[in-house]
Amino acid sequence: MPELDEVKQADSASAAEHPFEVERIRQDFPALTLSVHGQPLVYLDNAASTQKPVSVLDAVDRCYREYYSNVHRGVHHLSQKATDAYEEARRKVQGFVGASRAEEIVFVRGATEGINLVASTFGRSRVKAGDEVLITEMEHHSNIVPWQMLCEQTGATLRVAPIDDRGEVILEEYEKLLNDRTRIAAIVHISNALGTINPVSRMVEMAHSRDVPVLVDGAQAAPHALVDVEALGCDFFVCSGHKMFGPTGIGALYGRWDLLSTMPPYQGGGEMIRSVTFTKTEYAEPPARFEAGTPNIAGAIGMGAAVDYLQGIGLETIGRYELGLLEYATSALSAIPGVRLIGTAAHRASVVSFTIDGAHPHDVGTILDREGIAVRAGHHCAQPVMDHFGVPATVRASLAFYNQRQEIDRLVSGVEKVKEIFN
């Protein structure tokens, strides 16, 4: 297979310039040493969630053991330490996404909550009957349903920019759908079902030329690509800690200050107020305004540690290594007769989605699992994408920088086994 050889050469050339020792990296992740059904685990479900390095586990553990307390409240020593660590984590996330102010970062439960927050508060104050919200056909359910709910509540209309058969947004259609009724556009940076990398800055430019603010769903981008909200030009950006090697239950919303500071609160409670009487409550400035109640303190600190870990390796190094692996996986899988790749965009990251003739993805998932290989089989919370390609589900292998070529080889053998059973 000449294609594979070419990839290998290209990869070893870049590896010489930027040594990336995957074996050493793997030692940072205790879960990668697990065995499943008597086989060494091959974890290829990173788009669903990622494994955690020791530094993240330690950061969470240390928070609870060494300086845990509530934040922003006490004058005592522990409260001060916990508050410092929590705010330090916010600054780390700020640096990670390239925001100009730490106050533009709101800690949320995950990308889903970030989108719901914007749909609910920005939406409630800016979207009215007759207005439009624009999304794309390749969105995850989390970037569809909150906008649908907003449209139901306000009488606005949800418009959907179509994708082509490679899994790329048809930009001309997207541009045509932007009009003076459009109040917000919400687009995914990297598709979780197809791996497509959208031309986000171009799409933001198109929207901004119509004065339409843009929310970018960065859940899949944050662990794989260098994110810079200033360069993207987006108005909101969301990501999830657990998809970028951090803890579950924590994520971040970036909001441009002039928008964030004029948005009404999301939830009411402690922490988000300046003063409360029974007749009137004054709300705090962002980010506190959007962080009602005791936040996920240890989670935020863990997410900060995940940012440190990622930056320690370097997102550019990660992106380069993963691209080589993705090309290897794509070539190897597409060389198998009967395998159909779903999503063949020119620019992709991390995800290979495929079907096998005669074998349902659910059965493929079970057979691969018995080989110790963890993949996702299903609609990946992107049913409209499945509908577009006329499949009920796909098998999705999603990569991280700790994956290796020999793991792809085992996936390929697993697929061959599926074909033996279902011939």
Binding site: D363, T366, I367
Partner: protein, 151 residues
């Protein structure tokens, strides 16, 4: 690997590839739709009754090998059975998939063809695939009761 072979027995693979009684029944007495939102399996079951007995069952839809084979075999085994027999068969089938192995040995013989699904026991997440058609059949039957009450 042997557990996989137990799961994907020849009979199951054959019914998956060539599902029996696949399609609609025109003027069905009852029909119900079933789906498993987790994996996207979905099927529609059509039922024709002859008094208290199942005269004919057909199905259409798409799903994994286990759910397709289960629906296909269901259409064969319930034909001619009374509603009580269908109910008891489903109970035994469910027991086969989820129950205590020693009890299963006792209920085994009456299951007949359904015994090929014994391997599903080792794959708890696939039990729903095997029972989808049966739950849908129950829904179709319940719908008949509801219609009868309205009249």
């Amino acid at each position: 690997m042997s557990e996989l072979m137990d799961l994907y027995q020849e009979v199951i693979l054959d019914h998956n590839k060539h599902p029996r009684n696949f399609g609609q029944i025109e003027h069905a007495d009852h029909c119900a739709h079933g789906d498993n939102p987790l994996c996207g399996d979905q099927l529609t079951l059509y039922l024709k009754m002859d008094g208290n007995r199942v005269a004919e069952v057909r199905f259409e839809g798409q799903g994994c090998a286990i759910s397709t084979a289960s629906a296909s075999i269901l259409t064969e085994v319930v034909q001619g059975k009374t509603l009580e027999q269908v109910e008891s068969l489903f109970e035994s089938f469910h027991e086969l998939l989820t129950g205590d192995p020693s009890v299963v040995a006792e209920v085994g013989p009456e299951l007949g063809k359904l015994a090929v699904f014994a391997g599903v026991r080792e794959f708890p997440v696939r039990v729903k695939c095997a029972t989808l058609a049966w739950h849908t059949l129950k829904a179709a039957i319940a719908d008949e009761d509801a219609a009868a009450t309205t009249e």
